[in-house]
Amino acid sequence: MEILLEFIKTTGFFSISFGNAIMILIGIVFIFLAITKDYEPLLLVPIGMGAIVGNIPVIEGMGLSVYDAHHWITDENGAIQYIPGSVLSYIYFGVSQGLYPPLIFLGIGAMTDFSTMLSNPKLILLGAAAQVGVFATFLGALFLDFNFNEAGAIGIIGGADGPTAIFLSSKLAPHLLGAIAIAAYSYMALVPVIQPPIMKLLTSREERRIKMKPPRKVSKREKMIFPVAAFLICAMIAPGAIVLLGMLFFGNLLKESLVTERLANTARTAFVDIVTILLGFSVGASTQASQFLQKESLLIFGLGALSFAVATAGGVLFAKFMNLFLTDKINPLVGAAGVSAVPDSARVVQMVGQQEDPNNFLLMHAMAPNVAGVIGSAIAAGVLWAELAR
């Protein structure tokens, strides 16, 4: 009987806290949204399940959580003993040390076609303009009494790029990593909800109906040369971005070189899927109530929403500004795709554009600022890391 009572004390039912229950509920909501609304299911299902797993109360000293990392202790005889970490802590190692984000970038690079960007390079400016969200949020976070490193990590949520956000927070503010990752991925999933009202508010009906010239054909040589040249340009200017951009352009070179199709195929399919599973699940498992349900997390979520809104507005307004000087006008909706969130924000541009004119196909054009936004946010992360880690 005593053994049974002792066992009951170790069960989740006995030691679950209110916070754990809330986090488990949030995990279930994520899975529900992914399945029923199709919001970023490849991310929200692993994160949601991870949140459920991470919030089952663990037995003291059993080493089950992601935070039970391996360590050394000195025993009473003065001998140093190695204490192995939990299984989840080893999976989480890839998040905490920033290993997974560059690997995901490799897969993204192998999937990305830069043709539309190469055919209409002026659209790259929209990817730069949308980065205003990153730096505005950085200032907002400073205003809310976060320190510089924390503000930098929070600001990058505005880049709308989950791997970049995880990478930078693992370097600058590891204690906020869970909240920042969840905020970044949640808002990425909510791109179809957040962006359209802002896009419609800032554009007139005529502007939304602007048809853009079809992109020119890009030669194979251009596509082969671009990843190496673009990497050199970016890395020389912002060396902090070499890990992310190096992998992104390496993946793209595998695709465009045309002689490593097998490697490119692996990078964009099984490889990126495996890393996404490990990253999503372990980020979810890191959202333990005791670590996650803090005042800071709420502020991060608020700032994250603000950064998405500012980034979207920045891209749209800059497109309108460019139109003042251009003869071939840009549809300002395309500017909203500068926030990255590949390819969801480009799809949103297409959707909003077609609501005004079903014969207007903006997806191809929106992909240019979309991929430029990925490059821009990685550069922004590199700049913030270099400036703040000193």
Partner: protein, 102 residues
Amino acid sequence: MQLVTVAMVLANTILAESIAARGIAIAITGMAIVAFALLLIIAFISALPKLLAIVERFVPESEDPHVRTANSQSHPESQVADDDAVLAAIGFVLHSRLQNKD
């Protein structure tokens, strides 16, 4: 006592101002660096067709072994992904024909 309070308020104001000043400086510099890097990429992409036109005079793209290989799809590495699709298509046509015969 009042002097200490005034000094503390002043110190806090100066500190807040210096944090704000550094923050604004980082934000403006960061934005400028991102814009500069992307402007350089734009410049490079705009110049690339002209550079390639010069290269084309000496090494035509049709004679480039990699590009030619890609066009003819004869490189063994490039065939890997397509083989399955071709086989699936052949299989589908055969299956349809055989079903029609029955």
